[in-house]
């Protein structure tokens, strides 16, 4: 048998083995992402006539997005909240990750990280309700501010967008701290030393060396924050007080009484479209291998 044939057989065997390794993940993705996505896409083109589901290829549900102002407003509210949460979380998480990576002695870093992610250990729903009580008219924040004489009347903090953003930020700062810390800790101190040797001050070193090198960690964390935040129902429902509705809340209303799965599916597809755009915008910096 020739060497070429042997090489080909080896390659075929390697190829088969490769497929063997990939197959479980591939089947998992097909079964739990591709198939549901196709069903959801098909459902978004169906219609609800009276209370009967009619399958078809109708764009009616997407047309409703243009016709009904509250649907558009829902998309805008979702985007505004998500972008605010993402920016605020990054601004808070970066210094925290920096302090843990470079200011906390190595032997205390594990403990510092543990403390940073401690709130993850409590239930998401319980944490949201806890924030509701903290921000209430007679809650800790208002009592403290009134006790200090800063305000005379309690502020309306609960059931507002501020409350929703606060609840989200509390959660996502932890997530972002982890991704940014993982990135920071990999940076060789030689980068900083080299920049300093070349005459850069601390700010210039950060601006031109550290920040660009930690962008993958920031963008990965920010993207995860964006995806999880824009699709979240619990936090805006508990903390926002329905004073404005996000897309997931509108989806739940469609399902709750009328079981309007076609319109709910169309809204879910729109959400996926927004997430896809966010991915495309950040793909350049999404470097999971750097984490």
């Amino acid at each position: 048998m020739s060497d070429a044939a042997n090489t080909q057989r080896t390659l075929d065997r390697e190829g088969l083995r490769g497929w063997g390794f990939v197959a479980p993940a591939l089947l998992w993705t097909l079964a739990f992402f591709v198939l549901p996505f196709v069903v959801m896409g098909a459902m978004s083109l169906a219609t609800l006539e009276g209370r009967t589901l009619v399958w078809g290829l109708s764009p009616a549900n997407y047309a409703e997005l243009a016709e009904k102002a509250y649907l558009w407003r829902g998309i805008l509210v979702s985007l505004e909240i998500t972008l605010t949460v993402t920016v605020v979380s990054v601004l808070l998480a970066y210094p925290l990750a920096w302090i843990i990576a470079f200011r906390v002695p190595a032997r205390w870093q594990r403990l510092a990280l543990l403390l940073a992610i401690l709130p993850f250990w409590t239930s998401y729903v319980v944490r949201s309700y806890a924030w509701l009580l903290v921000l209430a008219r007679e809650g800790v924040v208002n009592r403290t501010l009134m006790g200090l004489g800063i305000i005379a009347e309690p502020l309306t903090l609960a059931n507002t967008r501020l409350a929703t953003v606060t609840g989200f930020v509390h959660f996502f700062v932890m997530l972002l701290t982890l991704t940014i810390f993982a990135n920071l800790i990999q940076l060789s101190p030689n980068y900083r030393r080299a920049a300093m040797d070349l005459g850069a001050n601390a700010f210039q070193t950060f601006r031109h060396v550290i920040l660009p090198l930690t962008l993958p960690g920031i963008v990965t964390g920010a993207f995860l924050t964006f995806v999880l935040c824009i699709g979240d129902y619990v936090t805006p429902q508990i903390l926002g007080g329905n004073t404005e509705l996000t897309v997931p809340q509108i989806i739940m209303v469609q399902l709750g009484r009328r079981a309007d799965f076609p319109l709910a599916s169309a809204l879910a597809i729109v959400l996926m479209g927004i997430v896809t755009l966010a991915y495309l915008a950040s793909a350049r910096w999404l470097r999971l291998d750097r984490l």
């Binding site: 509250y70 399902l255 009328r258």
Partner: protein, 371 residues
Amino acid sequence: MNDFKFFPKEPTKAANPREIRMTRLPSLLLATTALTLATQASAQEELNALVWCDHTDPALIEPFEKAHDVKVNLREYEGTGAALALLEQSRPGDWDVLVIDGIDVFRAVEAGILAELPADELPTADFFPEVVMAENNGADGKTYAVTEKFGYNTISYNAAKVDPADMESLSTVWGEKYNGRISIYDYYLPVMGLAALADGIETAKIGEGDLETIGSTLSTMRSRAVSVAGVVAAQTALATGEVDIVVGGGEWLTAVLAAEQPDLTWTIPKEGAVRWTQSIGVLETSEKKDLATEFVKYIVSPEGQSRLATSSCFWGMPANAKAGEMLTDDQKKVLRWDDQPDYLARTQLYPAPSSDLDIEMQDLWLETLQQ
């Protein structure tokens, strides 16, 4: 050669582990099968019920389980649409009992998912007449469900923080005086029903032409409110002093808090209020219809009704008036038992819109929330 005596004897067949497994396999299988059959024979029968949270109180369910040596599996749901979708995705026979919003029984009947109930075995003669609602619970002369509980979507408030006299008129409830001290219950049908009553429109006669008027009232109500809240959030808001009034609240909201915070109370204003009801029925595909019917009969019996009325999840009036004999004076006081004739006369069933009107009403509600 001496070593020979230390050699083991020639291995027997059974010494081969593989053969041990093979020879014991049939007996193992036999034993397992026998055990399985024995377990099945002695296993409790199970009943699967799709319910509202008030049915999950062990004090309600356990007496039935003991009496019938049955395990009742309960699954809570919110929203008729969610329940119908769940049933559609289940296999026939998965569910035996359904608790459903009284105004939505017709949807379940239209979908053909409810079995006929033996009307002559149900104690509806003992019910408060206004909540028997035979036309809602049946079709073509057949009974498919029976009312089990009712109450009111009206005005809950903190008597220590607001003037009770102001709560006697809907116009003052959401007037300027209480700006920022109101929460609205997060369900469009009863709240729009209340808005309709404030505008002098009967809930049963709400039509597309009334939506502009109702929408205007809703907007006013919304502008005064700090939140639109579900059951737990509304209770929390009232209990913590976040708000002093819940529009759309009622005994179901404040009764469980009555012992700890007696200032939290409710009233039915002069314009009236809307009445909610919940019904219970047996599913057509149930393979245990007799047992499921027994469960329904237990729930509407005076014993079941008194336990359901005071469920740990939420309180509400029992449909069966004879439950009064099983309730304590304190419980009846919280439920306002003696006021029921007056309340029933002054309240209307909350809107039960057609499919098209339902879409319009839901859209109007969502538009109001997004303002």
